[in-house]
Amino acid sequence: MQGMTYEQGLPKHRKGKFRFGRALIYAGVGLYCLSSVLAFSWVFMISLKTTTEFLTTSPWALPAVPQFENYLTAWNKAKIGVYFGNSILTSVAGATISVFISSLAAYVIARVPFKFNGLFGNYFLIGYMVPAMLTIIPLFFMMVNLGLNKGLFPLILIYIAAGFPFNTFVLRGFFESLPSELEEAATVDGASPFRVFWQIMLPLAWPGLVSTFLINFLSLWNEFFLALIFLRAEDATLPLGLFYMAQKALYSAQWTDLFAGILIVSVPVLIVFALLQDQITRGMTSGALKG
């Protein structure tokens, strides 16, 4: 029954009529997708032009000689390489630590009956509805007062905490869905609660951990607002650095660098998505749908 489409269910005489509908569908979806692809191709094409070409020729004209060096210039002179490294650091550290700490909390909330169990679950969940706006001003002063106004560390801390609402929610679901037999068996065999968690439940929840990590990583990789507030220009992550580049481009005319930068930010994400489509979509849907 799964996978039976509209068309298969139709009586024979309706199928012909559907051909026209099919064409319309292809047209609609095709048009939408084509424009998206065109937009990106345009960015790619411009990134290969020289600055003079960009300023003088038509937007749709092809570059005379593709300037792949633009990417090297963007990486080195425009410092995108530095920003890239900063992004990797903040995203990997932030996501890993956040998911790990969340898994600890999620495990006990999901599988250990204790008083206030639900309360803690909701405590973390409420954060989802509270916009970052409400935390930034006191946090800003907190960081300044603690001397944490340099480098990536303050931002990583904030990223870790920011992930808790989503991570604990999703991981709770994963832990709840695990069967108890292994847990019981191990406990009967004399394993300490910690070992039960570490060597049995955690490995079992691995797919869930990976999906959650991926979603977390992606959102941190793309994050802009907190980076804008808590990072100095020298320590910028990729999104923030790109933003500063865009502002500079207005008077420095380094447009081609900017275009290259946009692709450098985006292409890794697209590649990761292409390779891990299932994991990622699973993580995305688990946050919004129930079961």
Binding site: R111, I160, F224
Partner: protein, 294 residues
């Protein structure tokens, strides 16, 4: 019985998350709400109690009212722009067509890109000088249509919303098509046998069944719109178009980090929080049709 022994894990396992979360999220929120009632204007600790004065100032500020209007408009435009295309694309993806994988990839991937990348992409596309949109319009002879999208008072906000909607479309299509796929074909068959045409089947059977998902998506979009910052800041920023697109979040940012009116900014933030809570509750209540189980 063996469960109780696991209680020993509770405190150590909860502590890291609880500590970090409380220090970095809960306490700052409380501080913000508290500060909204003070006249906090410097980096010093002087924060004389101000009562509701900040809120009064806020509601009487024409700039704030403009920002509030834009914020609401952002939310509404977004839902309008997203709904039909998302439904169409999701439905199309459940049909028996080829290249589904590629279509899904192209539709969903903008959602995974950074706000900065997408906002800049669209800003460049919209550029009156070298942007391809206007260039294309001029090429086909529609020169009068080639407006300065981000600078024109009629189009500026919608232009930003289009960019944000394009990015959000992936999420909508992903979730709606997941919901559509879970509809048992028998239900649709039964409707057809009863004489309904495709249109009636869609509106009478399919839509009610994905209504729960649509409601979630709309609420999520509204919450996103209320606090939208990056889209507007990056696409309009401090340029001449900013009054046209200024939203509460960008005004808040300016009041806080440019004018140092911290108390006022906190009031705006608290106001946002209240609105989000109230709106979520109201939307939930208003659209409380039974989520149909099957």
């Amino acid at each position: 019985m063996y469960q109780k022994s696991r209680r020993s894990l509770v405190i150590p396992f909860l502590l890291p998350a609880f500590l970090l979360y409380t220090i970095l999220r809960f306490i700052p929120v409380v501080q913000t709400i508290w500060s909204s009632f003070t006249n906090w204007q410097g980096a010093g600790r002087e924060a004389p109690f101000y009562g509701l004065r900040n809120y009064q100032l806020m509601f009487m500020d024409p700039q704030f009212l403009n920002a509030a209007k834009n914020t609401a408009a952002f939310a509404i435009y977004g839902v309008i722009i997203l709904l039909i295309p998302a439904l169409f694309l999701s439905w199309a993806l459940t049909q028996n067509i080829k290249f589904k994988g590629i279509f899904r990839f192209v539709i969903i991937s903008p959602h995974l890109l950074s706000v900065v990348a997408v906002a800049l992409l669209w800003k460049l596309l919209y550029d009156p000088g070298f942007g391809p949109i206007n260039n294309l319009l001029k090429l086909v002879g529609l020169k009068s249509w080639a407006l300065p999208w981000l600078g024109d008072s009629n189009t500026a906000l919608v232009a930003v919303v289009i960019a944000a909607a394009w990015a959000q479309m992936g999420m909508w299509v992903l979730l709606i098509s997941a919901g559509l796929e879970r509809i048992p074909p028998e239900l649709l068959e039964a409707a057809r046998i009863d004489g309904a045409n495709e249109w009636q089947v869609f509106w009478g059977v399919t839509i009610p069944l994905v209504w729960g998902i649509l409601r979630t998506l709309i609420i999520l979009w509204i919450i996103l719109s209320l606090q939208v910052f990056a889209w507007v800041y990056i696409m309009s920023g401090t340029s001449s178009g900013s009054v046209l697109t200024e939203v509460i979040a960008t005004l808040l940012y300016n009041r806080a980090f440019s004018s140092y009116q911290w108390g006022l900014a906190c009031a705006m933030a608290t106001f946002l929080l209240i609105v989000i809570f109230v709106l979520s509750a109201v939307t939930n209540w208003l659209t409380k049709r039974e989520v149909i189980e099957y």
